[in-house]
Amino acid sequence: MTHIFNGRIKRLMKEELIRFGKHLLGFLGTMMLIAIIMNLLHDTDTIHRWINNYLINSEAVVDFRFFNFGFFIFFIFVSGIVTGYELPDYVRKGISRSDYFVAETLSAFIVSLLIAPIMLTLNVISHLIFPSDSLFYHAFQMGNGDPLILILQFLVYMALFFLGYLITTFWNRVGWVITIATAIGIFILLSFVSLNFMAISHRGRFNFSLNLGLKQFDVTFRSLAISLLVLIPTLGTITYFLVKSIPVKAT
């Protein structure tokens, strides 16, 4: 195993965190642009109503607009995919697969930890732009305001990072067909965890019963945390061993 604090890893982590910041700023900029366009079109009632109903307050974009769980879950999953996709480029630049894996995992860990304060800050900024919007308060209602939900969120982010990373690693090794088939299988397996987590997040309570038609499950904070704590090292270990011997083409 590579030395965890060698110069290459530090440098890679710095690059990765800068990339995260850039992408976040890019998304923020896009959201600001939407806000500006909305203000410009303020006089046109129909368009304004349409934007208000479908673009701003639609269920699908609420999470994105408020940089909540939904936005970051997408963000971190895509980061995982990009991480796997960029591995060959870094190997070509003289970075070992192990160094890359350690650096990217540590970066994802830091980003997942930073998400809560970033989310809070962005929501405050968002509230300043849309002061009358009651959705701002909704953003702080996840898990019924219980700070423990942040631990679950962190675990879900890490699990999704590895899932994304695993998918592109698989693609690098075996091609798209087997990757897609495997990904579907993993998604089905993970749906139980994610569905329950979403349910808990939005219903605001930790004891939630989900009837899957087969059995009545009693999902608790502890059961979810344990399942994620098992899932993360499992996905991480599989990814690490697949990454470690991945061939890189000279193209």
Binding site: R8, V91, K93, D99, A250
Partner: protein, 300 residues
Amino acid sequence: MNNDYRIEVRNLSVIYKNLIPITENFQALKDVSLTLEPGRIYGLLGRNGAGKTSLLSVLSAFRKASSGDVLINGTPLFDNGALMQHIQFIYQKKFDTESGETYPKIRKYIKKETAYRPYFDLDYADELIQKFGLPTNKRPHKLSKGMQSVLSVIIGLASRAPVTIFDEAYLGMDAPTRDLFYKEVLKDQARHPRIMVMSTHLVSEMEYLFDEVIMIHQGELIKKGTYDELVAAGMAITGRADVVDQFAVGKDIINIESLGGFKKITLFGDISEEDHLLAQALALEVSAVTLQDLFIHLTT
């Protein structure tokens, strides 16, 4: 710059396995063993599909050997971050934008590509940019194929990696540019000696660069030696067919050409002074064999 690297390849095999066992696995390299000494330029010769790129991919840790070892100063190379940053593998890179990849302008691209090369020399890269006339206001995918090759070799030379590998990276260049590149290789090798491996099909053009030549054929190492050793081991004999046949008994013939009653054979191996005297006595014409001819005859 650490120029004491010594590479040892032990019983190296590379097999490309098929996931779905409908077709047979392909063995690209078979039990290859060789040593690369510090500060030497190696020419790697082999026909298309001989296994050159597979060998170079393993030497640069792009690929793991199916069996066998690659050691640098006794340490296994594969996935060793401390060693990998000192190995620069230059090949004919496809600057493909179809997959959505974007490239910065030349100088930024060079910096990005060499960010993890501890001995990279930006001043030398600038000097090479000037010499080769590389337009820095363009992006790599907008360059001509020849200029893309120039960009790749500039990165290879300016990285000053203790192990620098060129895999036919110069194919797109025109003759004057290739000549300039060869001169730069020799000049920079004199200033900063390193292990340099150059795979090529341009044998006659590049042979003067090589301290040693490695020939592989169908995945196997067939010859390795200095240029002088290899060329001295080859001899062409021309004369009357029956006399040539008489001379050739028990010798390692790698090529035969017949024309009417005359015959020309190419021998390879230990050719003694007695052989030379015998050829003279039999009135046979003895001539040297070029590296290119040896390569052709040994691999056909």
